[in-house]
C-alpha cells in the first residue's frame, strides 16, 4: 500500500528535477539566443539607457553571468551551472555591486508571506463557496456567485490593486499607500503590527482576484459529483445534508482542485508580483519592476529562476497532498 505512494512521489521528484533543470537551462539559453553575444549587447543597451559609459566592474559582472564571449558555449554552460549551484546569481547592475542573491534573499520572505497566506485563504474561501454553489446549481447562491467569479477571474490583479489603492488608501485614507512596514517602527515593539497593517490591502486584493477561479472549478466538479449514485445513496440513508455535502460529494470533487493547483499557482504568483508593484511592497515583484525598468538583466534572471523554482516547489507540495488524499495513488502508483 505504501509502495504505490512512494513510487508516485519518486516519479514526481524526478519530473520536478528535470523541469528545474530545463528552467535553469532556459535561463542560460534565452540571453544567448539573441543576435550577437549577450554580454556586449547588454552593455551597449545599458549604455544607451543611462547615457553614460558602463563601469568596467559592471562589465565584468555581466560577463561573469552571460559568459565571456571568448569562452566556448559548453564552458560557459558549465561555469553557469557551477555558480548557480553555489547560489551565486551574479551582481546586480542597477544596484552595483550588490549581489543579486542578496537582493532576492531580502525580497523573498515578503513575497512568500504575502503569496503563501493569500493563496491559502483564496483556496479555502473559493473552494468553500464553490461547494456551496455547486450543491444547489442554479440556486440563488449559485446564481450570484458564478457570474461574480467569472467577472473576477477576468479582472487584472493590478487593476483591482490600483482601484483599492485609490479608494481605500487615497480617498478614504484607511490604509497606508505603500511599503511593507512603517519605517519608524523598524525593530520596535509595534513592528509586527505595522507589517500586518501594511499587508491588509495587497493581501485582500490578491484574495479578491484569485478566489473566483477556485470557486468556478470547485462548483463545476461539485455539480458533476452531486449527481453521482453514492451521493444519492447517502441522502437515501438519511444522513444529514452537511455530512453528504462534505464527506460524500465535496471530498471527491476536491481532487481536481488540488491538481489544478499546478496551473493556478503560477498565475497567482504572476498577479501577486504585479500587485506588489502597485503597493510598492518590498518583495520580489518590486525587484522585478526595478530590473525591467532599469534593464538589470542579472537581477531579471535571478527573479525568473527564483520564482520558477518556488512555483515548482509549491507544485511538488500540492502533489504530495494529492497523494495523501487520493486513495487511488496508494495502489496504482501512477
Amino acid at each position: 500500500m505504501k509502495q504505490g505512494r512512494w513510487r508516485f512521489l519518486t516519479k514526481r521528484v524526478a519530473f520536478y528535477l528535470a523541469t528545474s533543470w530545463s528552467a535553469i537551462t532556459l535561463n542560460f539559453l534565452i540571453p544567448r539566443l539573441m543576435p550577437g553575444d549577450p554580454s556586449s549587447v547588454i552593455v551597449r543597451q545599458l549604455q544607451r539607457q543611462s547615457g553614460e559609459s558602463v563601469s568596467p566592474e559592471a562589465v565584468a559582472a555581466i560577463q561573469k553571468l552571460f559568459g565571456d564571449p571568448r569562452a566556448g558555449l559548453l564552458q560557459q554552460y558549465w561555469d553557469y551551472l557551477v555558480s548557480i549551484a553555489r547560489l551565486d546569481f551574479g551582481l546586480s547592475v542597477s544596484r552595483f555591486p550588490t549581489p543579486v542573491g542578496e537582493l532576492l534573499a531580502e525580497g523573498l520572505p515578503w513575497t512568500l508571506m504575502l503569496v503563501g497566506a493569500t493563496t491559502v485563504v483564496a483556496f479555502v474561501l473559493g473552494t468553500g463557496l464553490g461547494i456551496a454553489a455547486g450543491w444547489k446549481p442554479g440556486g440563488r447562491l449559485d446564481g450570484f456567485l458564478s457570474p461574480l467569479s467569472t467577472f473576477l477571474t477576468a479582472v487584472p490583479y493590478f487593476w483591482v490593486a490600483l482601484i483599492a489603492l485609490y479608494v481605500f488608501g487615497l480617498v478614504l485614507g484607511w490604509f497606508p499607500l505603500g511599503g511593507g512596514y512603517d519605517p519608524d517602527l523598524y525593530g520596535r515593539p509595534g513592528f509586527v503590527g505595522s507589517v500586518l497593517e501594511y499587508m491588509v490591502m495587497p493581501a485582500t486584493t490578491i484574495v479578491f482576484s484569485a478566489f473566483g477561479g477556485w470557486l468556478l472549478g470547485m462548483r463545476n466538479m461539485m455539480i458533476t459529483t452531486v449527481s453521482e449514485d453514492y451521493v444519492l445513496l447517502g441522502k437515501a440513508k438519511g444522513l444529514s445534508a452537511g455530512r453528504v455535502m462534505f464527506r460524500y460529494a465535496a471530498r471527491n470533487a476536491l481532487l481536481p482542485s488540488v491538481t489544478g493547483f499546478a496551473m493556478a499557482i503560477g498565475g497567482v504568483l504572476g498577479g501577486a508580483l504585479l500587485t506588489e508593484i502597485v503597493f510598492s511592497y518590498p518583495g520580489i515583484g518590486y525587484l522585478l519592476y526595478d530590473a525591467v525598468s532599469k534593464r538589470d538583466y542579472p537581477l531579471m534572471q535571478g527573479v525568473f529562476l527564483l520564482t520558477t523554482l518556488t512555483v515548482l516547489l509549491a507544485n511538488f507540495v500540492a502533489d504530495s497532498v494529492y497523494v495523501m488524499i487520493d486513495p487511488r495513488t496508494r495502489e496504482a502508483g501512477r
Binding site: G138, P147, I163, L288
Partner: protein
Amino acid sequence: MKVRIGIGIIVFFSVIAIIGPWLNDLMGIGPWKIDYDAIAEPPGAGHLLGTTSQGTDVLAQMIAGTRNSMVVGSVAGVIGVILSVVVGVTAGFFGGKVDAVLSFVTNMFLVLPVLPLTLIVAGYVQDTGPITIALIIGLFGWAAGARTLRAQTLSLRGRDFVMAMRMIGESKPRMIFVEVLPHLAGWISAMFLHLVLAAILAEAGLAFLGVSSADTISWGTVIDQARQVALLNGMWWWFVPPGLCIALLGTATGLVNFGIDEVMNPRLRTADIKAMRKALA
C-alpha cells in the same frame, strides 16, 4: 441568454477593434491629439471619457487600444490553439513514446510560471510591438490546452467509430482530421477564448511592467501610464476604463465558455436542473 450577452460583448469589441481608427476620425478625436485647453479634464461634453494629464482624449486612446489588445489576444490565441492541437492531439492519438515525450514537455510548460517566462523573453527581444508580444505569449500559453486535448483524444481514439474506421483502413491523417478533430471543436473553441483572455491579461501585465513599445497603445499601456500620474491626482476616469474593458471582455469569454461547457457536459446545465426540480416538486 448568458451566451448571447457574451457573444454580444465580444462582437462589440471586435467591431471597435476593426473600425477603431475611422471611428476616432469620425468623432474628431485621436489618441495622440493634444487638447491644450482640456488637460486632465473629467468626463464631459467635449471629451466623453475626459482627458489625460497630457491633454489626450481617454476615449480615443481606449478605442485605439482596443485594436492592439484584440490583436495580441487573437494572434496569441491562434498560436496557442495551433500548438496545443498539434501537441495534444498527436500525443493522444499516437500514444506510446510520442505521447511520453510530448506529455513530458506539456507538463513542463504547465508548471513553469508564464509571466516571468514571457517577461524574460520579452525583456531580451528588442522589438516589443504587439505581434512580438503575442508570439511570445502564445508560445508559452498552450500547455493547459494541450493536456485537455490529449485526454480527450485518448478517449476518442478508443471509441467505436474511430476503431471501425481504423479497421476499414482509413489513413491516419484522415482519421485525425475527419474523425477526431470535429469532436474536439467545442474544447478547441473554449480554449481559444480562454487563451485570448489570458493573452490580453498577460499583455496588460507586461505593459504594466514597462515591456511594450512606446508607440503602441493598448489597454495595458493606458493603465500603465495612468498609474504613474492619475492615481495620485484622483483621475479615476483615466485608469478605470481600460481595466473595465479587460474585465468585460473576460466576463464575455467566461459566459460563452459556460455555454460551451454546458453543451459538452450536460450535467452543468443549470436551466435543466431547475426545470427538473420544478417538475419534481
